[in-house]
Amino acid sequence: MNHFDEMTGLLYLEQQLDASHAQEVRVHVAGCGECRNLLRALELEGVWLRQSLEADDESVPARLVQAPERGSTPWGWLSALGLSAGGAYTMWSGFVEPWRAQAAQSGFTQGNILTMLFFSGAFWKGWDAMRSLTEFLAVATLGVLVIWLLRRHLRRVTAVAVVMGAVLAALAFAPAGQAADVKHGNPSYTLAVGDVVKTDLIVSADTTMIDGDVDGDLIAFSRSVTVNGHIKGDVIAFSQELRVNGQVDGNVRAFVQVMQLNSTVARNVMAWVGDVSLDQTAKVGGTMTLFAGDAELNGAIAGDLLAFLGNIQINGSLGRNALIHAGHLSIGPKAEIQGQTKFEGRQQPEIAATAKLGSPIDVTIVKHRSDKSYSSPRFYWHEVLLWGASFIFGLAMLLVMPGFFFDAAGACKRTMPAIGFGALFLIALPILAVVICITIVGIGVGIAALMFWIVAIYAAQVIVGTWLGDRLLGAAVGMGSALGRMALGLLILRVIGVVPYLGVWFSSLVVCLGLGAIVLAIYRNMRPQLTQAAAI
């Protein structure tokens, strides 16, 4: 017999060889000093390893002396997290919400869905009666979410949580207690003529009528908001209708279905709105930014006009430039635009002969998506860019949540269940989000669910692409190989996706499969104990 190798020696020492093979080794060792030495060294190494591992050279931490009690409640934690949740809720409603409208200009295009959610009539009915319950449930839900997210780190970040909780609580309650007058309609709210609110005024009501004056901001959550008085701060409205007949010294920021401006707004107007009209007597001192369905602008705008909308009629004056993306632009006979006008749309604008324009309109006619030309290099360049974007998104996913990423990609193996769950998720989550918004938890959770839904739909292609790459090239290990497989898979998905007719169905299938895989991976990650139980 030749010298045996190290593997055989180890298996012999660990009694893992079958009897005949072990006997061969035994006989060989008896006559081979070299192999005997190797065997002895390996045996000593095993003993050395055991002794080294068994050596008790580290104390047991004191906090492990006490047995963990199931169901015991760390009240300090609950308090801290409760305060944090309250702070988070206030941060959301006080800071995030108002700025979300601005974020919409950066390309978020879910405006119609959100508008529908916020401003459907059913949502506002009974709002006032439900407000307290809704707020409470929203806070409670956020608290539960935070606890769940931190469940593995509770002890390590206790001090941080207490401090952060206190800070957020300070953020949450100080402004509410000192700097704003909060009013609840019953069901309507009216600030009478002659009455003055010296601070910010926050109103939630079915109908809000502001006939008096407000020295600070007016923030209104209401089905209908009418402002006849003088607002010295901003008007921020979340409503179905907004009519501004009184002077506003600050900005108007609206998230409404119908908006009418009939007075002077000293600063800027920004609106995410279905229909907007600027009366011929109205004046806007700054910039007007619109994200709207239809707009009729007959008043005066001192600054720029930035508009993304369906149809727009301009028959007023504009002090500076206009940048308009619209289906249709009509410039009436009384219009006067002093700066440059850029228009992007699907058809040529209608311009009255008597309209006064500072310079010729720069018109760009945008082709409809169905007009895409497969023979155009630009089309393929566009597809390459989309592929690159999805790859970068996948890379970010891989770096941020590698475990989940691979779990989801692996879940694609269960093709039929994944497609089924994906289709269910695709349909059910938006409905659930609407229900949450209207009846149960609150806007924040509903919107978050919708955001997650949108991100998950986009992520679906990345998950399926990675799985497809694995299927084609075979399973591999390491980040580099995962990225390579993802790139190949995404490329294939995109190529098939642009095939006429077939591509649409294929892409739908990919979305369902990817969404289902994500759902399965989430389910798996939320129930690690099931895996554990199965393994025992």
Partner: protein, 195 residues
């Protein structure tokens, strides 16, 4: 704690006796912490894992088959939990697996191997373990600390039984190289014997 006492304590824990639970915990928590300390890369991970393991133990005590040794079941729960934690850090695991598959194995020189063992005490070995890839470290701990069989190791790590020996041998090589690197001569310390 004798077998009869343990059985009694387990029965009381199942019946919801918190004192019995405390006793069981005090008896076994230090050992499980030591296991976790060897299986996981950091002390913080080990502390957290120990607590989580005992929470699981309490939840799953109903599934424990009293005809089997309790400590074996406990270590099985602990090893599964630790491996699950490590598995979730998938990127690292995958990279390690890649390293493992391509690692060239050279026969050790028995003399130099013995020298290496003489040079390094348990603290060095433990420090070396912390630098090892998760799966390799886990394999060594399961085999040489928990004294698990090849079948149990294969089951815990989710590999074929025939691969366990390869895993252990490669883990030993990795540990040797880490220790040899620490003492200034990787190849010369361990490799160079027979082809």
């Amino acid at each position: 704690m004798s077998a009869a006492e343990l059985a009694d304590v387990l029965a009381q824990v199942r019946a919801g006796d918190s004192d019995a639970w405390g006793e069981l915990y005090r008896q076994y928590a230090p050992a499980i912490f030591r296991f976790c300390r060897r299986a996981l890369p950091t002390r913080e991970d080990a502390e957290d894992a120990t607590t989580e393991i005992f929470m699981k133990v309490r939840q799953k005590l109903g599934t424990y088959d009293s005809s089997r040794p309790f400590t074996a079941w406990l270590y099985k729960v602990a090893s599964n939990h630790c491996w699950d934690l490590l598995r979730r850090r998938r990127i690292r695991q995958d990279l390690e697996t890649g390293d493992l598959e391509t690692l060239p194995l050279e026969h050790p020189d028995p003399d130099q191997l013995e020298q290496l063992q003489l040079k390094h005490d348990s603290k060095h070995v433990r420090a070396g373990l912390a630098k090892m890839p998760d799966r390799a470290r886990m394999a060594l701990v399961l085999r040489y600390y928990s004294d698990m069989s090849y079948d149990e190791i294969a089951d815990t790590l989710g590999v074929r039984r025939a691969f366990v020996g390869v895993l252990l041998l490669r883990a030993r090589h990795q540990l040797r190289e880490i220790l040899a690197e620490g003492s200034g001569g990787m190849r010369s310390a361990t490799a160079g014997g027979k082809p």
